[in-house]
Amino acid sequence: MSAANPIMEVKNVSKTFDRVVTALDNVSIEVRGNEIVSVVGENGAGKSTLMKILVGVYQPDSGEMYYLGRRVPFPKDPLDALRRGISIVYQERGVIPHLKVYQFLFLGLEEKFTKLGRLQLGKIIGLAKSVFEELGLECDLTSSIYELPPSTQKMVEIARAILSIKLMMVGDGGSEITPIIILDEPTAPLSLEERDELFNYLLNLKKSNSFIFVSHIIPEVMKFSDRIYVLRDGRVVAHHDLSSEKVTEDQLFREIVGRESYYDLWAKYVYGVGEVRERRAILSVRNLAKKGYFENVSFDLHEGECIGLFGPAGCGKSEIAKALYGEISADNGKIIVDGKEAKLKGEPYVRIKMGIGYFSGETGKELFLFWPIKKNLSIVNFEKVTKKPLKIASVISFKAESSLAEKIMKKLRIRAPSVEAECYSLSGGNKQKVSVGKWLEKNPKILVLEDPTIGIDVGAREEIYEVLLEMKRNGTAMILVSDDPKEYTILCDKIISVRNGIVQAVYTNEEFRRLMGL
């Protein structure tokens, strides 16, 4: 089969949810033989929706699908997709930890290996062995999945995807067909070496398979893809054939983030930071460590200062942030908040009492989507909206709650009919504003930010930055974890670069900008 002819092609696929949210708008992509084609984009760009259409989890509103040049209907369900030679390896929850490797490999395919109601174990193990040999995978078939290293687990999952396609296709006489395996952010749980291991394995498998690689980690995508589709706001905004054209990481990044105006925004803010006067240290971290995630992390955070933890996904930066906030516990070291040492065994409610707040842009993580805005805003501000008729009993004053919410809504320009509007009905940007707005009145000493502006448009981004910068001016110290280097330059005075859980270097904002070529 010539590599240039697409095996599978979709044209003009559109998908709308609830008749309002457009997830995909006239998207066309193709997959050729024996290649790794990447689909990149920010969270919410429509990557997952597209993949779910390809494997039959969703049905598109419109669009066409071609298989080997023939027009075919979209798959009805994952099994249907499997029969067409398309399978998916999801980001998480792929493996079943307590199964043996060979059991997992044939999970759901047992009926093909049953004779008189008995499973032909010998045959299965024999076949598994030959499959592993063919796919160049070395591991003990009889060990349990959880005993394998994470990268090998992923490989076993990929092997299973290929195997199930092959077994499904045998009956159709289509064993010559190249299976298409969709890998949805396969590297998310892996460390850097494990990622390389996985990619070498994929390059090897490319000889007989095609891969759709879904990711937002630019260096990986650049290194291992043959072609790249860039998805933004449900549209394909760029298509690169890396064999014939040269693309820089920066160019790709610009395409993913899009919006030239984001650059203007960045330029507007970036020169205002980095001039922190010497203030007292509000957070001192000493030799903080958690086995397997990070070690020996030490820094001082001053009033009104923002420190960014920068590094590739999986480097331990978000774990450090989570340990500071108390979502996970560190094993070793010291966290001193405003002179008081915090217990390492973390619970967010203890840390909030000490003055550490948390804000993440991940929609739905900290919002109560079916609550009105006012309840979402008062959840951390009970002391501001309650009266105490008795010493032990506090009663919520609905009037105080509404006026607090109205105050925050006005200040953040949250666009909603009223403070009674339920949060799920708001746009992404407004949801994020509600999330960050609850801290505005609380005024924590330290605010931990995780991807604060993920998946929202420039206008909303700007408003979130305004809020954060104002809180910073008023003395709130911040820790930032993000995937976007520009965000660090907008918010941070100091950037700590982390790799494999170890602090590599500390940069000032200016040094960091030079380093990133911004």
Binding site: S378, F382, T386
Partner: protein, 320 residues
């Protein structure tokens, strides 16, 4: 835009209010048709009050637990155990047996809460186990015998007539109103809904989830205890059949009222509706001489149907 005020969306959004209210109306009409004396005399109202009061108290506790997205199987067993402790100790220490009985209930609630909050055992399993313990303890304490208390003071606790209604009615309504107030107008009540609505978000908002869970289970068991004490007083004693087969009707009244098993939706105020429906249906069916076991089948079916109807579909879509 010309739109009728009863839009499809409005109907869907308020399904868990419309169903119980229309169900209640239909039920009253049906009962009236089957029995012309239904609710015609004051006596029948008092019978109704006796039948529902203790049940509503226990159902309020269960509602709080279900609002958190958990479940408590031990409610009828703790109710029985508390009734038994009250009746067994009454001849020796009089009304001092009430705090003892409630204390035992609180201990069971504390164990339930800790098993869930501290040891992460699903509440379904944890409370099933503790309910067995409560059953066993009740058996040990009573020796399996029925305990009759003939002291009029014992009975007066629930049967003293005030403005034409027995005192148990006032105990119940006071409890009901207190818990409506707690769930709506206090931070603690807000926290209960928060845990049921988004447990990750609750934790991130700096709420001590473990404490809320433990406290709610303690409140639930305490209310079961109070219900048991009042019921014992009402029937002048306790026996091993108290609370048997009450689990399904209790659960059914909570969900029929419109509190979703997924947590975060509904409330104690709704449970009154559910209790009215389930208890009336129960008495209506027994009036028609329908066997207890068949009634259990019907309640089970109602519980399942209402669970399906009240589960928040919007949320399921979000959860994927």
């Amino acid at each position: 835009m010309a739109q009728t005020w009863i839009s499809r969306e409005w109907l869907q959004r308020n399904l868990n209010t419309i169903i119980p209210i229309s169900g209640l109306i239909a039920l009253v009409i049906a009962l009236r048709a089957a029995n012309p004396y239904f609710l015609t005399s004051w006596d029948s109202v008092i019978t109704l009050v006796y039948g529902m009061s203790w049940f509503l108290i226990a159902a309020c506790g269960l509602t709080l637990v279900i609002l958190m997205g958990s479940f408590d199987f031990s409610v009828p067993s703790v109710l029985k155990l508390s009734a038994m402790i009250f009746a067994v100790l009454y001849p020796f220490i009089g009304f001092a047996s009430i705090p003892v009985s409630i204390a035992v209930g609180l201990i069971f609630g504390f164990i339930n809460g800790m098993l869930l909050a501290r040891f992460n055992i699903p509440s379904f399993m944890a409370t099933l186990a503790t309910s067995m313990m409560a059953e066993g303890l009740a058996q040990v304490i009573s020796g399996g015998y029925t305990r009759m208390i003939t002291d009029p003071a014992f009975r007066a606790l629930s049967t003293t007539m005030i403005f034409g209604l027995p005192s148990i009615f006032y105990w119940t309504i006071i409890t009901w109103i207190i818990f409506i107030f707690i769930t709506f107008a206090t931070p603690f009540g807000r926290m209960i809904y928060a845990v049921g609505g988004n447990i990750v978000g609750t934790r991130l908002a700096g709420i001590n989830v473990k404490m809320v869970r433990t406290l709610v289970f303690m409140i639930c068991s305490m209310l079961a205890s109070i219900a048991g004490i009042l019921y014992a007083s009402q029937i002048q004693g306790a026996h091993m059949q108290v609370g048997v087969l009450d689990m399904i009707p209790l659960f059914a009244s909570v969900v029929v009222g419109g509190t979703a098993l997924t947590g975060g939706v509904g409330g104690v105020h709704r449970t009154l509706l559910g209790v009215l429906i389930i208890r009336w249906l129960d008495s209506g069916l027994s009036m028609l001489a329908i066997d207890l076991n068949v009634r259990m089948i019907i309640f089970g079916a109602i519980a399942i149907v209402m669970t399906i109807l009240t589960i928040d579909r919007r949320r399921i879509r979000i959860m994927k």
